[in-house]
Amino acid sequence: MSNTAFGILRSGYVARDTFVHRLDGRTKFLFFLWISLFNYIFYDLYVTIVSFALVMFLAFVARIQRFATTVLVIIVLPIVLLGLGIIGGPFGFVHNKTAIAAVQVFGYTVGIYLEGTVYVSVWTSRLAVTITAALLAYVTTHPSDLAAIMLKSRLPYKFAYAFLATIQLIPILTNEITTIYQAQVSRGLNVQAKLIDRFKSIIVLMIPLTLGAINQTQIRAIALESRGFSAPVKKVMLRDPKLKASDYAFISLMAAMTCVFIYLIWTRGLVPFMVGIEYVRPGG
């Protein structure tokens, strides 16, 4: 996961001129919160599949579909396979009653069950929806807009700084660890050694990395102070993002859909469309 994660955090903003990019960052983060919330409220595979289709469509519009697909394959697919193999399979998930496919092996029934498969599908598609929505908001919003949005949302500027600085620091520290790793390998570090020796190797990699990073904090603090970071004055922003007509239209659509969802919950419950599948709480 780390190489892909690093790639995403390193590239951060994907510059394109699409409808999604032109939306205000606040609208995209609101969409991210909204779709994540409703996906976790409904226990319905059809709702999550439609939501997933919607976020993937927006990913296509924003031309980040390869990005999103790679992340989903690396993060969600292993959970799907583990879940289907264990909970959907013959390992004793108590709700499993309806066999989709089963064979007899030495008198035991080994099969894939509908209830466990639906349970895993609902939970993993919730994850897929929320991860794609997060990527959609993050990689289509310019970092300067992100900082401006945080300040406009009345978050402390120190938090905005910490958030953006972390995104900047991750690639810097990752490059440093590569250099330290190469230096240690040239001094005899063996990454193919026994498990205990590999654990010991963490220390020789971490100490130079951490001390280097701490040393940098002193320089960084001086640089921030020289730009009046802790000065008791109102901070100004380089960019001033504003909501446009398309943002208001998008937010109105979300508001309308919220009414539909509330109506569905009121009239049909948390499983509005799936027929013959009971609502399974986590843990049974």
């Binding site: 994540s36 390992f91 701490i214 102070e225 802790s230």
Partner: protein, 204 residues
Amino acid sequence: MTSAKGTKPTTVERPAGFAILQIVLIPVIAALNYVTGVIVNILKLPLFLDTWATMFGTIVAGLWVGAAGGFLYNIIMAFTLWGLPAWVWGFINIYIAIITWVFWRIGWVSVKSPVKLVAAGIIVGVTNVIPVTAISWGVFGLMPTYAGTAPIYAAVLASTGDILTASVVSSIVAEIPDKLISLILAAVVASRMPARFTLRPPKA
């Protein structure tokens, strides 16, 4: 900060105080937690170790710095790769910071007393199972999410039929070595820090 009135421009020779150093350290802790994932990948280790920097930050700069750095790491991951519900893992980092701070205050987090250090690591791991299970319940539906402990999860589920028990047992197996090694790593790295890098304000 030295301010020279009149002809000379404002010059800065050292940070005004520890407060700004601590703020600058917060993103460093979050980034160190992340970069540990890269190291774990390089060394092909079967653990996460992505809370060690939270522990380190708590030891060298105080509770709120460690907690904020750890929480920020989870916020960044939730808003980029893990998806929204994963932000709740940030509470694990806050819990880790608090318990590390408690053990540090009573003198258990020190390389000079390895038995206490190991005991502290095991206690952190065992008690951490509670918030981990709570979050796994709400976000992942208690499903198996880590291939390393999936066989244990499957075995416990097959013998008990209860995914809560399976989740708790597989969490215990993963959490104890993970938090133990994280705490030892944090204590060792903190012990190697030169005094001139101190990040705690001097006591009045």
